[in-house]
């Protein structure tokens, strides 16, 4: 097996478009990273094909910090050890919705339950609209396209050089940040179509480059937009940065885990 790099950091985003949380371990499943985008804000006026309120419509969403009320319960499948003890391929159960309960810290530092109507009121007031958005929950992650996303530090560095400004990799809201052995930006694209073991069990297969939208223009702390980041990626990198991956073998991954190409599963 060929070592191509290591996991630098792991992130999940409990509520679609809200701020992410860095984690020390992440169970990646066929339907997405555990606890990643399990909640989203449903907008009745949005395109039915993508019926969410996101940072595209309300940049301020990135300033809201969600936290799982029960971090242990939301950390990994409740019977993972028992499932693994039977056989490595046994699918574990996912916890119930209550285990994934979320509290949100507003930009002003106020803490509200995610399902508190006052939070929606707070969001609407900030936007100056009064739309009846509602909370939706799914065990299958509300990602835009594919279950898991990956992005290399090397790509962030290259973009920083090209744009002559610091480019915080958090703009790209990936689940797995890679520190590749290649020092070339966009080297992760060479992994497309291959099987990559992450750590000692999980295997992912990057399936395509990640087509970018204005979400990457938004500062992960302030939500302020820098449109030229997206324009640059569009002009120089055909609009793509990072990878979307399918999960071939579920498992827990951790920072520092080796990334190795798999010849056969």
């Amino acid at each position: 097996m060929t070592l191509v790099g290591r996991v630098d950091s792991l992130w999940r985003y409990p509520v679609k478009s809200m701020r992410g949380e860095r984690v020390e371990e992440l169970f990646i499943s066929f339907s997405g990273a555990y606890g990643d985008r399990v909640f989203a804000l449903y907008s009745p006026s949005a395109d039915p094909g993508f019926p969410f309120r996101t940072g595209r419509e309300q940049e301020d969403l990135l300033r809201y910090q969600p936290r799982f009320r029960f971090p242990e319960a939301a950390g990994r499948p409740p019977n993972l050890a028992q499932a693994d003890a039977i056989a490595p391929g046994i699918n574990p159960l996912f916890a119930d919705r209550e285990s994934f309960a979320v509290d949100v810290v507003t930009p002003e530092g106020q803490v509200m339950a995610l399902d508190d109507p006052a939070l929606v009121a707070d969001l609407n007031a900030r936007l100056g609209e009064n739309e009846e958005i509602s909370l939706v929950y799914s065990q299958r992650s509300f990602t835009d396209c594919r279950p898991v996303s990956m992005f290399s530090l090397q790509t962030a560095r290259l973009l920083s050089e090209e744009l002559q400004m610091p480019v915080d990799e958090r703009r790209f809201r990936a689940n797995i940040y890679l520190d590749l052995d290649s020092d070339q930006g966009f080297a992760e694209e060479e992994l497309i179509g291959k099987a990559v073991r992450v750590g000692d069990k999980a295997v992912v297969s990057p399936v395509e480059r990640d087509p970018r939208c204005k979400m990457i223009t938004l500062d992960p702390e302030t939500g302020e937009a820098t449109p030229r980041i997206l324009r640059h990626i569009s002009a120089v990198h055909n609009g793509y940065a990072g990878l979307y991956a399918a999960v071939l073998v579920e498992g827990v991954v951790r920072p520092g885990d080796a990334l190795t190409l798999v010849d056969e599963l």
Partner: protein, 347 residues
Amino acid sequence: MSAAPDGFVVARVSRVIDETPQCRSFELTLPPSARQQFVGRPGQFLRVRARTAEPNCERSYSLSSTPTLDESPRITIKRIPGGRVSNWCNDTLRPRSVIEVAPPEGRFVLRSTTKPVLMFAAGSGITPVFSVLRHVLAFTDLPAVLVQVNRSPAEAIFRSTLLELRTSLRGRLEFIEHFTGARGRMTAHDVVAMCTARSGFDVYTCGPDPFMALIEACATECGVPQERIFLERFVPGQATEMNRGTPGPGAAQTEVQAHVGVTIDGQRYEYTCEPGQTVLAGALAAGLQLPHSCREGRCGTCLVELSTGAVHMPRSQGISKRERERGWILACQALPRSPSLEIDYDA
């Protein structure tokens, strides 16, 4: 029937209904594989691409059907003097004709299931209002008031249906007709009186811009919160209008040729947008590579500041309220409405 590129689906006209001498409705049959995509919400619109030999024959038309009630989507198209597509549709489409349509979209939808509705519609602006109203009457107990403005009864689209609803629902629907031919235009006094008598109602309106501006101003004067006033900027092919600086002798209501000045990376370029060309399409046709990606108004790559001029954007989901307030537009969606525009990527 088969799928066309860019998300459009080939639909067949199953029925043509003469609504008024200048307006027809077209009921559509979709391929079974596309029906789920076209469920939509009352008040939304379809992008329609007419199969003519001419370019730039894509327009947006509101659904007059109510997706929660009607199995087949129906669009209602009123002839616009000089309008290529509206006249082509009215002249050409018959049962079994085909057109291309994209799934429903738009933000002019019922915003609350707890607030009664006060709706003002002028001319073909009745189309999305009618769609939402039928949903309100069928699925809620909310009081509903519709004020429909036309020149004469003969030009009032859906009039007979609305009169029947008023009768059959026995007071649930308050249907007020205003014929400008007999009474003159609606005045601010008229509108204020209506709003004052219906405190706590959400206000919906669709029609020509001056009409909607009147409704919005009067509703605001009567204390209706801004966030409870919903407008569908209903000029065929339009969902969002932007006017900046001095657009000239008033923004045009039809397609115009526009001279566009663009500043990007410290350089200034000029080109001409032909009628019906978006700001982006005009630039690309002129050999000027402006930033873009999806070309569907979703990704936001083409966001740019409109310094002067007027545009309308059929789709604008890739632009936030903050960006609109700052005068940003989506170049891939922006159709010029003034003879000159200035856009600035370096702003």
